[in-house]
């Protein structure tokens, strides 16, 4: 499938830019790193505002509870590290120090999912969405591309309360249609269609769009939803799309058992009975490899979305 012609940009660069601008606009912004400031690009903020950046060393638990203390004293805190170390390693600190007291801490992570590549399973967390989705009071955001990352960072800074925002390591295709608007908690329709709804999150949104183009050639008219806020899930958009198109496919770079697709499945089971299929990483740990090779091996390509679409169309009783 061809997204080779799309421009690819770094989410990390756009996040760093948004954070720097926030730092200039607002004195209440404080940033925390855990010996990964050069990788997660909080170093950009640190360079201009060294007094408002604390690098706590390799001590993520400490970082999360320090973030809580700063937030309890009126600061808007961005705590940033790799997704594996910013969720799983510190789950209880987030739960107890941040989510329970509903403090204004934004946990912004990079290097989520298998596109991490060579570092392998230890670093390729595929359960972070599940962990953060499970927490009361937590908002979970997974931007689809670099420009949306920029907008989402600005939006979560304006929102008061705990947020988890997830990015990958690799550059991602820029989707022209998501560039202008971002509203926390709202899914956006990137492409209209009546036969099936493809719901993507993160890097899989671009794959959904490519799949939709291919499906047109078969006479299947797919709607594409960008579900960039996973919690709270945009139930209205979801139910509307399910009722209007009668079939749903979800796609995410995350464990398929516990991620966005699982959240969608639960809602559909209760509110709109339509055939659905989840595309994502099966219930296994990742491994080292080239990120594109891994995306193929673990079933995260546009072809996988097309196959899943054929399956739901068959069950819907459509053309196939």
């Amino acid at each position: 499938m061809n997204y080779g012609t799309w421009k690819k940009e770094s989410q990390r660069t756009f996040w760093a830019r948004a954070l720097l601008e926030l730092g200039r606009e607002r004195k209440d912004i404080v940033v925390l790193s855990a010996d990964l400031s050069t990788s997660v690009k909080t170093s950009v903020f640190a360079k201009e505002f060294p007094e408002r950046h604390f690098n706590v060393g390799i001590a993520e638990q400490n970082m999360m509870s320090i973030a809580a203390g700063l937030a309890a004293s009126g600061k808007t805190v961005f705590a940033s590290t790799f997704a594996a170390f910013g969720t799983g390693r510190v789950y209880d600190q987030i739960r107890q120090s941040i989510a329970y007291p509903e403090l204004n801490v934004k946990i912004v992570t990079t290097h989520a999912g298998i596109t991490v590549g060579g570092d392998g399973a230890t670093h390729q967390i595929v359960e972070d969405i599940a962990l953060m989705r499970a927490l009361p009071n937590m908002t979970v955001v997974v931007p689809a591309d670099a420009p949306e990352t920029y907008l989402a960072i600005k939006a979560v800074a304006d929102y008061v309360g705990p947020v988890y925002l997830r990015m990958g390591r690799a550059d991602v295709p820029t989707i022209a249609s998501v560039q202008d608007d971002f509203e926390l908690g709202k899914a956006t329709v990137l492409r209209d269609g009546d036969d099936v709804t493809l719901i993507g999150t993160g890097v899989m949104v671009s794959r959904c769009l490519v799949a939709a183009d291919e499906l047109t050639k078969e006479g299947i008219d797919a709607r594409v939803l960008n579900m960039s806020t996973i919690k709270p899930l945009d139930r209205d958009a979801l139910i509307k799309a399910a009722r209007e198109t009668g079939a749903v496919v979800t796609a995410e770079e995350h464990s398929v058992t516990v991620g966005m697709g699982a959240a969608v499945a639960m809602d559909l089971a209760e509110n709109a009975h339509v055939p659905m299929k989840r595309v994502g990483i099966p219930d296994v740990f990742g491994e080292s490899g080239d990120s594109d090779e891994l995306m193929e091996k673990y079933g995260l390509t546009a072809e996988n979305i097309i196959e899943a679409t054929h399956d739901v169309m068959r069950r819907k009783g459509g053309a196939l």
Binding site: S33, D35, L36, S37, T38, S39, S43, N55, V56, G57, I58, A59, Q61, N62, A84, F85, R89, G117, G118, D119, G120, A121, T122, H123, E287, S288, G289, D290, E293, L294, K297
Partner: protein
């Protein structure tokens, strides 16, 4: 006659050089990896695998073998190279590092690689795993020893100190930790990111026998391992002063080569410096 002969030292130096050449080639071919911390750890790892450890490459799960855990898992290219040179798996396999389907993962995987005793990569956990292995040896009345290498940056992690407290509380004299004190972590020098000093005093206060050595001097390394074995009633930590990137001039002390592969030109230069064929 000194206990450690000149021949032994020369052989270890030779093995270390081979390991350094392997790991540079492996990381270059993989296009990613951590040369700095692999090079600083190489001499201690060479001493362990070519003199200290009682292991059997033909029988990697022999119950009475000594165990080595690399808590700073990102330095595994040095470990893999030592294991291959020691005969745990074919040397050719080293070139599959980080490639899809390889037994040599970017961070150690005990289920995939013969000789790898613990899965690590998230910093700060290996010493605790080592305590578990040492406790099991105690329960089973076995006399093998357990060695754990931690990065100095790993001394930032709370869990390192939870483990330090537990190991001396359990009087684990079958456990020996090595701190690869290369004075650097990912973002820069440890003294700028999270100062550790007085590090020896901290370990002493946690109930450990502390030895401080030059981690690139085989005489001192071997002496320290002998000493550690003779200490009774408490665990020993060897604080090995090392140089991050040791052996490749432009990687020595360079923050930039913590987690970056050399490019073609750098690779060729590094191989020349290590006396190998590019």
């Amino acid at each position: 006659m000194p206990k450690h002969s000149q021949e032994l030292i020369a052989r270890l130096e030779d093995e270390a050089l081979k390991i350094r050449r392997h790991l540079i080639r492996m990381i270059y071919q993989a296009g990613s990896g951590h040369p700095g911390g692999s090079l600083s750890a190489t001499d201690v790892i060479a001493a362990l695998y070519f003199h200290v450890l009682n292991v059997d490459p033909k029988n990697p799960s022999w119950e009475d073998r000594d165990r080595f855990v690399l808590s700073k898992g990102h330095a595994c290219p040095a470990w893999y190279a030592a294991l291959a040179e020691r005969g745990f798996f074919p040397i050719e396999e080293l070139d599959t590092l980080r490639k899809i389907g390889s037994r040599l993962q970017g961070h150690p995987d005990m289920r995939k690689t013969p000789g790898v005793e613990a899965s690590t990569g998230s910093e700060g956990q290996g010493l605790s795993v080592g305590i578990g292995i040492a406790l099991a040896a105690m329960l089973d009345r076995r006399s093998h020893r357990v060695y754990v290498m931690v990065g100095d940056g790993e001394n930032d992690c709370g869990q390192t100190w939870e483990a330090a407290m537990a190991a001396s509380f359990y009087k684990l004299d079958n456990l020996c930790a090595i701190v690869d004190r290369n004075l650097m972590q990912l973002d820069g020098p440890t003294k700028h990111i999270m100062s550790l000093e007085p590090l020896a005093d901290k370990w002493k206060a946690f109930g450990w026998k502390v030895l401080e050595i030059d981690g690139h001097n085989f005489k001192e390394i071997l002496k320290a391992f002998d000493k550690a074995e003779s200490v009774k009633g408490k665990p020993t930590v060897i604080i090995a002063r090392t140089l991050k990137g040791k052996g490749v001039s432009f990687m020595e002390g360079a923050v930039g080569f913590h987690g970056k592969a050399p490019n073609e030109e750098e690779y060729e230069q590094a191989m020349i410096e290590l006396g190998g064929e590019p």
